[in-house]
């Protein structure tokens, strides 16, 4: 019984947090990281506030699948602080990356949007300290989200699998 109450309280707080984070996604101060995904892997979208409240949703080109619900998670204060410090530096100084080829069907792009500023494609090798720092921050945030990229493949047989009933 106590467990059920706890679950209800946590759920309520979590959804309030997610709603607040989502509401603030476009406000100054919050940042959004979008991985486009590819033909063979879905992408993802993470919204982060300076306080470390964040949400993750599976998305392609930033557009969540119909019915997808953002999952809230927390980014440590240190990671959040570093991320927004690096964002400010990138916004001021730019964040250049090297042009790179993309695998036609497995390659993706990764961009950060912060207010009116958008990064270049951070999935290409960084050509500046600011891009290097932002890439490291994004990696840390993605790990904090618990995103299991192996589950993003459409054919991963350990995940939901089509039952080929007939031709």
């Amino acid at each position: 019984m106590a467990s059920a109450v706890c679950r209800t309280v946590v759920l309520g707080l979590t959804f309030a947090l997610a709603a607040a984070a989502a509401a603030g996604a476009d406000a100054a101060g919050s940042a959004t990281i979008v991985n486009s995904g590819s033909t063979n892997f879905a992408g993802w979208k993470i919204a982060v506030t300076p306080a470390g409240a964040a949400t993750l949703v599976i998305a392609r080109r930033g557009v969540p699948e119909a019915g997808a619900t953002p999952k809230p998670f927390a980014v440590s204060a240190a990671v959040a602080a570093q991320f927004f410090k690096d964002l400010a530096a990138a916004k001021a100084q730019g964040a250049s990356v090297e042009p790179c080829m993309k695998s036609a069907s497995f390659g993706s792009t990764t961009h950060v949007t912060w207010g009116s500023w958008s990064s270049p494609d951070l999935s290409c090798p960084p050509a500046s300290d600011t891009a290097t720092a932002l890439s490291a921050d994004i990696d840390a945030i993605r790990k904090a989200s618990g995103l299991d990229t192996s589950q993003l493949h459409r054919g991963a047989l350990t995940a939901a699998t089509p039952a080929p009933s007939s031709t």
Binding site: S3, C6, R7, V9, V10, L11, L13, A16, L17, A20, A21, G24, N35, S38, T39, N40, T49, A51, G52, A53, L56, R60, R61, V63, E65, G67, K71, P72, A74, P99, C100, M101, S103, A104, S105, F106, G107, S108, P125, D139, G146, D148, T149, S150, Q151, L152, H153, R154, G155, A156, L157, T158, A159, A160, T161, P162, A163, P164, S165, T167
Partner: protein, 445 residues
């Protein structure tokens, strides 16, 4: 103010979690398993529901009964068990060597040709399990084991040191490498696949890898990658005695390179299905996943590339009335299966991260390019095959004309040029998305 509110909510939420005996995996995903416990894969529909993959398909497309059963889970390795494999293999999304050889009418040739022929696939970064995954793929589909099926070299042509894998998901090419290797061996089982691993995905490293492939003796070199057009020509993709093949890309209409170089055989993509009503036994339409009704790419846009180059002049062999309107290089020359919904099985251990490495529904023009490169190897033309020769061999005797579908849906590139809609809309004869069609035997190659 908003920040303060969020901070307070976050702290309250985390405190509540702790008070309740620790974090709940169902609320804060920390692994794939916890995601599953929160409702399964990100693609799961609500438990117990059935989601059709290809409902309401237009005429000419695959009329299937395939559906995703939410929550249905196949134990790792089940697809390799003889009794359960039959339920999965040889169906759209789970095609293997026999399916591709039948579809492109090379069954007899694949059984006896290709020995000693080297076909290269150019990729970036390392893939430690490449050899064992290829062996598992061949075993799965009943191809004989062989020691000479795969050779791996770096961009300098050396077998050591090979570049390390890049495990950052933003840079991970191992799925691409697995698909490339598996497709070549699928259509040319006796060929040797030369996997060239560039040090990185920048232009210079990949171009070095193409040269290394040529120096290694590969007669056909597949490049399943692309970027915006940069120049009218590139000597690294125009090597005498070598046939360079590339993917048209998966983003619909809009030319990309290296595919649009006039020295490169540019490969588009189709949606390939069995069709007992036609003599061939197979039918193909344009891979048009940009159609919002399609579920090809998780509800998002993706489709075969095509285009009229902005920088490559029109080659003399393209000066035909059928290519009027586009005054530059018509990008796509030929095509093959690419729609993931009608895609292929690939074995890729690092892609699965501990789960079954045998995965269906792989596709994209990353599939069609190595298929065509493998078929060129099977033709045993010694690398003396060019886009001009392919155009000279156009016609129903050598190519399956793809006459239905288009690739200009959605928000990616806007509408097709009205002056030459064939660049995005299939028709009889040449069209942008599929070129002259798909290989019908080896006569066109």
């Amino acid at each position: 103010m908003k920040s303060t509110l969020l901070r307070a909510l976050a702290m309250l939420s985390i405190a509540s979690l702790a008070a309740c005996g620790g974090g709940s995996a169902s609320l804060v995903p920390s692994s794939g398993a916890s995601q599953a416990s929160a409702g399964g894969s990100p693609f799961d529909a609500p438990a117990g529901t059935l989601r059709r993959v290809c409902a309401n398909v237009p005429r000419g497309r695959y009329h299937c009964d395939m559906a995703i059963v939410a929550g249905a889970r196949i134990p790792a390795g089940a697809i390799e068990h003889p009794q359960t494999a039959a339920a999965y293999l040889h169906r759209p999304g789970f095609y293997g060597p026999a399916d591709l050889q039948q579809a492109y009418d090379v069954v007899a040739q694949a059984a006896r040709r290709g020995a000693g022929v080297k076909i290269a696939v150019v990729d970036a970064y390392g893939y430690t399990q490449a050899a064992s995954d290829l062996a598992r793929y061949r075993k799965l589909f009943g191809l004989p084991a062989c020691a000479s099926c795969l050779r791996i070299i770096n961009e300098h042509g050396q077998s050591s040191p090979l570049p390390p894998p890049n495990t950052n998901p933003n840079y991970d090419w191992r799925g691409e490498e697995a698909l490339d290797v598996d497709m070549v061996t699928a259509v040319c089982p006796k060929c040797t696949v030369v996997l060239v691993q560039a040090q990185s995905d920048n232009d210079d490293d990949l171009e070095s890898a193409v040269r290394a492939a040529a120096n290694a003796g590969a007669v056909a070199i597949s490049n399943s990658y692309s970027n915006d057009e940069e120049g009218a020509s590139n000597s690294d993709y125009a090597i005498a005695g070598r046939t360079i093949v590339a993917s048209a890309g998966d983003d619909g209409w809009g030319a990309q390179q290296p595919c649009s170089y006039a020295s490169v055989i540019c490969v588009g993509g189709t949606h390939l299905v069995p069709d007992a009503r036609v003599k061939r036994g197979w039918d193909e339409v344009v891979w048009d996943g940009l159609n919002p009704k399609s579920n090809d790419c998780y509800g998002g846009p993706c489709a075969t590339g095509s285009g009229c180059s902005a920088v490559v002049p029109k080659p003399s062999w393209q000066q035909l009335s059928s290519t009027a309107g586009c005054t530059m290089r018509n990008e796509v020359d030929v095509s093959a299966d690419a729609d993931p919904v009608t895609g292929v099985v690939v074995v890729c251990t690092p892609c699965a991260d501990g789960g079954s490495p045998v995965m269906g529904y792989n596709g994209g023009t990353s599939e069609s390019s190595p298929i065509v490169a493998g078929l060129i190897g099977l033709a045993e033309n010694g690398g003396r095959f060019s886009p001009a020769q392919l155009w000279a061999k156009r016609g129903a005797a050598n190519f399956n004309d793809v006459v239905s579908g288009r690739n200009d849906y959605g928000p990616v590139d806007g509408s097709c040029p009205q002056a030459y809609t064939y660049i995005c809309v299939a028709r009889v004869g040449y069209d942008g998305p599929t070129g002259w069609g798909t290989p019908h035997g080896l006569g066109g190659l």
